[in-house]
Structures are given as structure tokens and as C-alpha cells.
Symmetry: C2
Subunit: 235 residues, 2 copies
DNA sequence: GACAACGTCTCTACAATGTAGACAGTACGC
DNA sequence: GCGTACTGTCTACATTGTAGAGACGTTGTC
């Protein structure tokens, strides 16, 4: 009997049907595993056992592919705009996003960079969802739309800043971490970088979660003082 | 008499001698004028009226060239580690860096992205100078080295976050700014993005400087409360 | 002044990339 | 059964970074 899909060797590759989701998932997996540079059309095609050109059915060009990957990652972020405790919700989102970034460190440059070259309205919708939902959360909590925007900006700015900071000091291989770090610091001319060199040990153990939370406390309480919700939550 | 450099046409091009500084400057100018993608070896060579390969004398490869550009931009930032008023100095640095970013928006992705793929000790020294100097400023102000690092992280994280935020909403052409913005927002499905769409006008006028300063106030006073300098400034 | 050595710049060449355009194979409407 | 639309493939090309060998001019040494 003819098998539904012809295969050169019996149990080799089922060659699953392509779909945007499949393409983006394997793209993300590839980026996670080998970095952004490894994500070429040819390589991704090979990963899917397809001709590279077939990818263009699911992403207009490479840039769109990158956008798709960003979107896919941000879709992992759950936000509950109905949470009555907006501060707690913002804290949770922050920690979730931090973990997301640590789980997909190679995607972070995309998350940060792509919006810089795309006007707000033209970004992939999945990218704008967090913004919309956080606005909803804050407005629901009683902020005026304009105040909500200001809070969002301060909050999201701080959050992304922290993630960038932490990832800059985070070196992939956690075993060699300190070694590499020291090695690196060792190269610095002692005359010009006394403080930095002296901080080697302290740099090595970075409690990212703790620092994030500490910063959030400062920021949220400060924001709550400056901009008080106008009416009772729940509208 | 023979002219010191032979020129095909009299007043055409003096063909100045190459140097690392010249190469990086024109690279920066090119990036400023036409964006990061325009900075190819061939294009830069053409800009300098030299063979592309000659650039490799002054930068090991394209990545090193990008690092050089980052360095060049950061060198424009003046920091005074001896300022007795650390909060004022941090404020000034923040505003300066913001202006620097607005002056070289196309370089910002570099500033943010390159450190993510380079362990601290291997970065171009010019990139580490601000870190070292801010540490010096804080330690001079009486913070313990470890506390200084914490303050630095919160401060620099917030600062970079703000810059990214502002640049995301900043669209190059200031005339069409609002038009493009609206046009963009108009594309969003009304069902899914009610708040974002409603904020169009408010989004349009973003007082970046004001919001930065406001955030700084919150952060600095919060930090000063949490971590008090241990002894009198001036050591 | 001759000559060697060196630093600077150029030429040629190649592998890898994104992607346009024409085509093939398949599924599914009637 | 046949046309139509969708999905995937093949070929081809312009553009990129960069290796490697050499050309040119400047400079130091005898």
C-alpha cells in the first residue's frame, strides 16, 4: 500500500506540514540554542528539512522572521489586567519577564532593538499586547489614561534597564562564570580601573531577582505617591 | 614641481592619511546619516576613498569596528568623579547621556546590544570608563564599594531603560511625527487595543527630559534612603 | 646613494547571505 | 475529471565579510 507521505527511508523523517507557528517555534529554538547569527534562512530551512525559500510563505523576509520570534517570546508572558492589586501585578509581571529573558537571553537584543526601528503602530501586535494590558491594569486601578501611560513608561523603562543590566553581567557558562569574569577584569589596566577591578568578587554574585525587587519597591512607592489613583479600583 | 601627493585632478580629493580615529569618525558619521546597515566595509572604504581592505589595518573585523563606534560615542560623555554632590552629578550625566542618545539614535542599538555578547572584561575600555568613573564618584561620596555598585546598577539600568523607551516612541521625522504615529495607531484593531488607540494624542508629546528627571528624583531619593553614605564625602 | 625592511594600501578571489522569479507538485472546489 | 489555489522547490544573482598575495612608498642603515 502507498504510504500517505513518501519517505526515502522508513522511519527517518515524517516531514511535518509547515505552518507559521512551526516555523517560528523552530526559529526560536535555533536562536536559543545557537544564537541570533545562526538564524539564517538556509539554516532554518535545513532545520525544517525544507528549501529555504519555502520560509517566505510564512515570513515576508528575515526581519519579519525576527519580529515573529520576538512576538513568540512575548506571548509567553501572562498578564492579568483585572488584578485588583496593581502593584502586586506589576511585580509579578516584572519577575516573569526577567525569567523569560533569562530563558531566552539571545532574543533579548531583538526585544530591545527591533522597536527602535519600527514606529509603534507598525509593530507586530503581540509586541504591543503587554503595553495595552498594563495600561488596562492601571486604568482599571483608577489612574487616568495619561497617568497610566506615565507609570507604564517609568515601570517598563526600569524593567528593561534592569534586564539589560543583569544580562550584561550574566555570562552563559555558569561554571566558568567567575573564572572568565576574573580573567576579564584581570586584563584591565590597574591604573585606570581600580574600583572596577576591586569589585571582582562582588560582581560575581549578582542577586538579580533581589535587586529587581528592591528597585521595584522604590519605583512603585514613588510612583504611587506622585500619582494617586483618582477613584476606587473596579471603576 | 611634483606635488607631495599625486592627484588625478587638481582640486579633487586630498586623500588624507588614514588613522583609527579618522576611520571611526567617518564610520560614526555614516551611521548617524544613514543607519547601521549602511556601515559596510565597502561603503566605508568608498567614503574614505580607499580600498575596503585597508580598513582592516584599523579594526580587526566588522564587529571591532562597531565596538569602535560605540566607544567613540561614549567618549563624548563627560563625567566628573570628584563632584562633591553625587546626586547632582548623576542627574547631569543622565541628561547628557540622553542628549547623546538623541544625537546618535542609530548607535543606541550598539550601545545596548554589544555588551550583551561581550564579557565585561573584554569590552573596549572606553565603554567601561563610565562605569569606573561613576563608581569612583559614589565611593568618593562615601558609599562602600559594594553599595556603590548597587546604586550604579539601579541608576544605569533605569537610565538605559528610559533612553530605550523614549527612542522607541521617537520617530525620526519630527514633522510627520504625529501623522505617522496616528497612522500607525489607526491600524490597530479597535477591539484589542482600546486604551492604546485612545492615547494617541498623549503619546504624541512625550516630554522625555521631564519624565527622566521625575524618575531620577524617585530613584535617587529612594536609593539615598536605603543606602546612606557611611562617612563624610571627600573621604 | 644603494638597499633592505617595514608599514600602508590595493587587487583578486571566495564562501555565505537574502531573496527575486519561474516552476512543480498537491489538494480541493465544482 | 478539471481548473484553481496553495505549498514547496530550483536556479540565479547581487551583496556581504574577509583571507592572502602583492604593490607602493617611506625610512633607517651602511
Amino acid at each position: 500500500m502507498g504510504s500517505p507521505q513518501k519517505s526515502d527511508h522508513p522511519t527517518e523523517a515524517p516531514k511535518p506540514r509547515l505552518s507559521r507557528d512551526l516555523v517560528l517555534s523552530t526559529a526560536l529554538a535555533l536562536v536559543d540554542a545557537e544564537g541570533l547569527d545562526a538564524l539564517t534562512m538556509r539554516r532554518l530551512g535545513q532545520e525544517l528539512q525544507r528549501d529555504p525559500m519555502s520560509l517566505y510563505r510564512y515570513a515576508a523576509n528575515r526581519a519579519a522572521l525576527l519580529d515573529g520570534v520576538s512576538e513568540m517570546v512575548l506571548n509567553e508572558l501572562a498578564i492579568f489586567p483585572d488584578d485588583p492589586d496593581w502593584q502586586a501585578q506589576l511585580r509579578k509581571i516584572a519577575h516573569d519577564l526577567r525569567l523569560l529573558a533569562l530563558r531566552h537571553p539571545n532574543v533579548v537584543p531583538l526585544l530591545v532593538t527591533r522597536p527602535l526601528s519600527t514606529p509603534l503602530g507598525m509593530r507586530p501586535l503581540g509586541t504591543l499586547r503587554p503595553l495595552e494590558q498594563i495600561l488596562a491594569l492601571l486604568i482599571e486601578a483608577g489612574f487616568t489614561p495619561s497617568a497610566a501611560l506615565h507609570v507604564y513608561r517609568a515601570y517598563y523603562g526600569f524593567l528593561y534597564g534592569h534586564i539589560l543590566n543583569e544580562l550584561q553581567e550574566y555570562i552563559v557558562d555558569p561554571e566558568e562564570n567567575e573564572a572568565i569574569l576574573r580573567l576579564g577584569l584581570h586584563r584591565l589596566p590597574a591604573k585606570d580601573f581600580p574600583h572596577l577591578r576591586a569589585l571582582g568578587p562582588v560582581l560575581a554574585d549578582y542577586d538579580g531577582d533581589g535587586e529587581l525587587d528592591q528597585g521595584l519597591s522604590i519605583l512603585l512607592s514613588g510612583l504611587a505617591t506622585q500619582l494617586t489613583p483618582q477613584h476606587q479600583p473596579g471603576s
